[in-house]
Every structure is written in C-alpha cells, then in structure tokens.
Symmetry: C2
Subunit: 461 residues, 2 copies
C-alpha cells in the first residue's frame, strides 16, 4: 500500500470519527456518497466496535450490503443484530451469494437457518445449494449469478435477453451457451456479441472449446487455469457438464493472494493463515500460539537431538573448546543455504515450474549452487578463523572444510526434502524453515565433529 493511500485512509477515518461523535448523520451520508463501497468497508473495519455499529446504522441498504460482503462472520452477526427484521431482509437481498455463503458457513446451524429464512425463496435455494460445497473447491467459491443463452437463438435475441437478466448477474463479460438439456456447449464474450451482426445465430459464432472446472476442483487449480488462459471468469460444471456457477477473476485474485500468504506462513513455520484483521486481541494471540507452537516443539526436540549429538563428541570438544565457537556459525550457514534451496524448490513446485525433467535439473542446480557458495563462504571462514585459533592454521583449515561439506549437504537436503514430500503426496511447503533447519543442524553437527575428529587425530596428534 502506498504511503499516500495510508494517509488518505487515516484522514477519512478522522473525518468520520469526528462526525460520528457529533451525531452528524446527514453529513456522513453526504461524505460517503462520494466513496467507493470498498473505501467504506475500509473505514468501517478501522473503527472500534461501538463506532462500527453506529456507522453501519447510517449506511444505505446497498452500502450496508457491500460492507457485509467484506467483514468476517463475527462482525457480520454483530452488525446484523442491530437491525430490524425488515431492514435485515432488504440488506441481505443486496449481498452476493458467494460472499454470503462464505459468511454463514462459519455460523452455527441455528444462526444459519435464521439468516436463510430472511432471504427470498430463490436466493434461499441458491445459498443452500452453495453451502454443501467445501470452501476450498470451485463449488465453494463460485457464484450463481451468471447468464446462459440457448445455442439456437440470434444475437439480437440474446442481447434482448441480457437486458432483462443483466441486473442479477455479477458479470456478463462472458455469456455461456447451453443446449436444451442445460449442458454447457459454448461460450461467447460480450465483445463478440457486440462486434458481430445481430442476425447471426449464437451457435455459429460461439467457441465450442470451453475451459471449465468441476464443482470439486481445488481452488488453487482453478486459479492456475484462470491465470494460464487469461480468463475473466470460468464456468463450474457438475459431472454431467451442466453449468452450476461461475468464478470471477476478482475472486481468483483473492485465492492467489490467500495461497501466497499461506505458503509464506508455512515457510516460516505457522500451520494456518493467522487472521491479522481479527479484532479480538487475545483470541488472535491464542490462534497464533496454536498455529506456531507445533513447529517449535518439533524444533525443540530436534535441538535436543543436536545436544545429544554434540554430547557424543564431548571428548573432542573438551580438548578443543575453541570448536564450540564455530557451532552457531556452522548451524546458521547450513540453515540459510538449506532454506534458500528449499524455498526456491517449494515455490517452484507451487507455481508449476518443477515437474518431469525439471526435477533432476533442479537438484543438480541446487547442489552446484551449494558447492559454489559453500566454497566462497568456507574460504572466508578458514581465513578469518585463524585469528580465533591463535595461529593454528590446521584447525582453521579443518573448520573451513567442515563448513563446506555442511553447506553442500544442506543444499541437497533443502532440495530433496520438498521433492520427496511432493512425490509421496505430502504438501512440500511443510518442508519449511523449522523442519529443514533442524534436520540440517543435526547432520551439520555430525559432519563437523566427525570431520574435525578424523582430521585433527590424523594431522595434529
């Protein structure tokens, strides 16, 4: 977000807070009439609970509907509570089905029924239908607001049809063509509808190869298709190829952002996306602890295993306490090289760059990189460590060699682990920083002490 944008939000917030304090409802209405619904949502989310309710009560039905589409389900219920039954009905009627479904999917059975009872019959039916799909699938993110035309009508008839139906449809940038059994047989962009002459038959100008997804397709795969084929919307079909909904590109952008954030959190060792917008501060802390602690506990036991390994070499360590000085450096360098390799491999798998012959190329690439960066770093360490070991050149040489071996191993482990995870069907992103660094710590320390023991015994003693 730009600095300018942040300042603008803060300025608007100050204005609204001031007007709310003075109960200037008319001025607020006037002020926000100029704003985009997304800006109104932004203001509302920044207000504290009391002001939020106050501000919400001033909005028009349309604005209120847009706001409800964007808040989380707790806020949704809180804001809805303050309204009379008739107001609820009017505002719920403004909301997009897909957003409403996301919200009420998280409510209790009872609350859910209450909300659905406020919808008109057709909306209630559509929302109930959408509720059955898993939220990470195409069915879970699609909307029912789309437009179909029969293949045997003319463009003129189709456009007349659109004039009647367009109010309901979230996007009519594509018009889907169906046969008499409601099966998806073609697609037309609105552009093609306009640039062709009105007397042409839909079937003659439609594209027959429609890129569609099944209700059960994972949302990440849907995002991949929309991005690959540069689509504005993708139709969702059931097993009989009947069109059940569409997913629009704005929802795909949300999926892409969400998946990237999830991947980033996983790299850092946090098992679920933590909701930074969650208003209840202690609830948020609890969620964070819950999602990060498992990774850390694994690392604790990994670290204790390292301690055990070091314990096995206590004799060498007692003779050369100076070896202890380089342990954090060794562990740190291994961890960093390993994290670099694993991060690039995991991201490569996620965006679809690594498959087939690329797998071995990636492994070869990372090992070569580990070899080279390891060589450079080890030379620095070998040279500088001479000052630490009071001129015992052999010792600093041994430290450098161990470091090099450690870094090559780290790069190999960092690349192999996600590739193996992928192969056996585990999410490669689980091979995140904590897991990789712990593994590398243990192997690294073993290499370090084994090599130093061998080399020092052979050379020095």
């Amino acid at each position: 977000m730009t600095k300018h944008e942040n300042e603008q939000i803060d300025e608007r917030l100050d204005v609204i807070k001031h007007l709310l304090d003075n109960n200037e409802h008319l001025k607020i209405k006037e002020y926000i009439e100029e704003l985009h619904p997304a800006d109104i949502v932004e203001i509302l989310l920044e207000l504290d609970d009391e002001d939020q309710v106050h501000f919400f009560s001033i909005l028009s039905w349309e604005q209120a509907g847009k706001v409800l589409e964007e808040v989380d389900s707790d806020t949704f219920i809180e804001l809805l509570e303050i309204l009379k039954r008739e107001q609820k009905i009017l505002i719920l009627d403004q909301m997009a089905h897909d957003d409403m479904v996301d919200l009420i999917a998280e409510l209790s059975e009872e609350k859910r029924k209450e909300i659905i009872s406020l919808l008109d019959l057709e909306d209630a039916k559509k929302v109930t239908e959408l509720l059955i799909y898993d939220e990470d699938t195409a069915g879970g993110i699609m909307t029912k607001e789309f437009i179909t035309v029969r293949k045997d009508i003319t463009i003129y008839q189709a456009i007349e049809d659109l004039r009647d139906k367009a109010g309901d449809a979230e996007t009519i940038y594509y018009v889907y063509v169906v046969d008499k059994n409601e099966r998806l047989v073609g697609v037309l962009s609105l552009r093609e509808l306009i640039v062709n002459r009105p007397n042409k038959i839909i079937e003659d100008i439609m594209h027959e190869k429609v890129i569609s997804v099944n209700l059960k397709t994972d949302q990440e795969d849907v995002a991949h298709l929309v991005s690959k084929y540069d689509l504005l919307a993708i139709p969702v079909v059931d097993d009989n190829n009947r069109i059940m909904g569409i997913i629009t590109v704005d929802d795909i952008i949300d999926v892409i952002q969400e998946e990237a954030t999830e991947d980033i959190y996983k790299f850092a060792g946090s098992s679920e996306a933590e909701d930074i917008d969650d208003d209840k501060i202690f609830h948020r802390i609890f969620i964070s602890v819950k999602s990060r602690l498992p990774w850390l506990v694994i690392t604790v036991f990994g670290g204790l295993l390292s301690a055990k390994v070091i314990g096995g070499f206590q004799e060498v360590l007692n003779k050369n306490t100076v070896l202890a000085l380089f342990m954090p450096l060794l562990a740190g360098m291994g961890g960093n090289v390993g994290t670099q390799s694993s991060t690039l491999t995991v991201r490569g798998i996620a965006v679809g760059d690594i498959h087939g012959k690329e797998i071995f190329k990636t492994l070869f690439h990372e090992i070569c990189v580990g070899f080279l960066v390891g060589l450079c770093c080890s030379i620095i360490v070998a040279v500088v460590s001479i000052f630490f070991v009071k001129g015992e050149v052999i010792l600093s040489f041994v430290v450098g060699i161990s470091m090099w071996a450690n870094m090559i191993t780290a790069a190999t482990i960092g690349t192999l682990v996600p590739l193996i995870f992928k192969k056996i069907g585990v999410d490669p992103a689980v091979a995140s920083a904590p897991f990789i660094t712990t593994t590398i710590d243990i192997t690294g320390l073993s290499i370090y002490f084994t090599l130093t023991t061998i080399l020092l015994t052979k050379i020095v003693y």
Copy 2:
C-alpha cells in the same frame, strides 16, 4: 499444478516430439489446432533448442505471435532469426504491444531498432512510446490497445464505433469516455452499454469517478487498486489526465504472482527472482550464486561475531562444557521464533494490513506470542535437559530461563526490524531470514551466557 495437468503436458510433449522426429508437419498442425495458444507455448518451452526451432517453424502466424509473447527475450531472438523478413513482419504484427515492449526492452540498442523497423508505422510509434517507461511502473506494463469514446455521442453511435475499432483493442470490457481534449472524464462497462437503451447519451450514463493510475505509479500499487476495487482493467493517465493506456487484470495477476515470488525469495535471502525457466544451466547457476551469496557472506560475518561473543565467555564454557550442548538449540529456537514474527510482519506490511494503530498492536501481539510459545518450549527444555546435565536441576533451570528470555527477545527483534525498516524507507522484506537469524544469534548467545554466568555464579558457586 495438478497431477493430471502435468501428465497431460507430458503426453502432448511425447506426441509432438514423435511427430517432429518424423517430420509430420501436417499432423502437427492438425494436432495443435485443437489447443489453446497457452498450451502451445507450454509445449514449446519444454522442447530442447533444436526441436523448439523446428516446432516454431510449423506454427501459424497467429500461433507464432502468441508464442513469442510468452517466451524470454533470448528465445524471442533465437526464434525470430530463423524467419524470413516477410514472415517476421507478419508475426510481429500479431503480438500485443505490452509483451513486445517487455521483450525488446532487454535487447541491445541495435537489435531493438531492427525489430521496430519491422513494425508498421502506427505500431512502431506505440512501441517506441511504451519503451520509455520503467518496467515496474504502470507505464511499463500498460498496453496501448484500449477504446475511448467521446462523451457527447449516443450509445448507438458508440456501439457502431466499437464494431469498427474492437479488433485492435485487447479488452473492450470497459469503454473510457474522454472530452474534446482527450482527457479522461468517465467510464462505462460494456455491460452498461448493452443494458441501456441505444438512444441515450454517453455522458448521462457514464460513471464520472474513474479509478486511474499515473504512468509512474509502481506496479505493486496498481495491483493493490485493481484487487481492492475488483476491476477488470485500470486506465493509465499522464499528468494532464489524458489516457495513455490500460492495464488488464490478467497482467495484474502476473504482477501479484511475481511480487509474491519475489517476497518469498527475499525471505529466504536471495536478492532477485531467479528465473527457474532459464535454459542455460550454468548461466542459471551463476545467477543463483550471485543473488544468494551476498546474504550468506553477511551471515558469515554475523556468525564470526557470534564466535567472538562465545569466545568472551570461554571461561564459563570451560567450566561447564555442557553449556555448549544447548547452543544450537538456543540459536535455532531464537531463529525460528524470530523468523515467524518477521515473516508475518513483512507479509502484513506487504498486503497492507499493518499501518497506523496496527503497528503497536502487531508489536504487542508478537511479544505476547513470543512470551507464551517461549514459556512452553522452555519448560520442555528445562525438564528434558535434566538428563543431559546429570541431575544438576539448577543448571537445566538456568538453560530453560535463558531460552525463554531469548525467545521473547527474538520475537521482539523479528517484529521491530521490519517495522523500523518500513519507517526509514527500506524494503521490509530485506529483514529476511538470514539477517534476522544472525542478529538473533548474537543477542541470544549474549543473553544465554550472561544469564548463565550470573545465575550459576550466584546459585551454584
């Protein structure tokens, strides 16, 4: 990418390779006629150099143009080389301006002029114009293929206009409305053009509040606006509010993916996005080494500083060599907690969740989380380490306490560093794993040895 999709690519690749080997040009033409251009690009990129050229020579002009839009500039030149001058002209004419500009921006002055000389006059003028903008700005990613209408005409006239101009325009999902000085004064969706009656005047139905960006706006900010306001395209204007181009949502998706990948690479300590598709394997290794080494060298010196710190406590260490056992555990836990905090903070800043009052909330949140996860982990360490220190309960208690202090400090540093970087105008993503872990290693070891020295002196001796 789904497993199914990967298999499909491999299968198509096998078919094409087989047909290429047998010079079955007609069969190839037939086979790929069924495919989407994006699929053809995918096949071409998987072929080795020789087959690539062979395959490319079989494509239709339109397919060849689409393929060139997607390859990197080295491949672009290689493929173009094999064509005769007339073929080059025909194929270049098929390409979108924005993609062509991205490609030729990376070429030498001479090559660039050669390509531009092959374009028709109007295209040459547009491409030359686009070349002056920085590639990370709105000007650098926009396309010249958009449609404007004058505000004083009727819908009927506008639609007739579109029929004439639509071939040129990448998207006509929005029609931009200009005054007689070509200044942007409104916008209409194609949908609104269709659902309104043809005799209405554009000015009466257009939206006057157009969300636009300046030529110099950073591409990340453009992506933020498009995603916030759910746009399909955003107009780019000069300082006089004249429309100079548009950016479409498919390019925005690329920007979002690119920025997420860049952020992920930065977390892992790699200064630039490494191009995993680069075919020249040793060139790729060189690029990787170049982008990762600086971070590693910083860590080396950080690690040597740690060694210095430990050296300062060598006396305590000599007395209790058992303290050395827990050093990697301590450094590891600090690093992990710190990385978790820094990653969440950096991502929070990037997606715009952290600003204003959120800054202090985030800091408070992360310190609390560090306190709690630190408490849990320290208890485990204190209890288990009793077995390592042969029943010296005080010693294991001291290790536990130091670990706890270290983890709270790590969470604080992990959160503060990106926030401070943001404040002083440095990219917060630079506060990546290597930087944070090195800082935390040094502070952590200082805390560990200071605390153990004090506590052991007071209690044990």
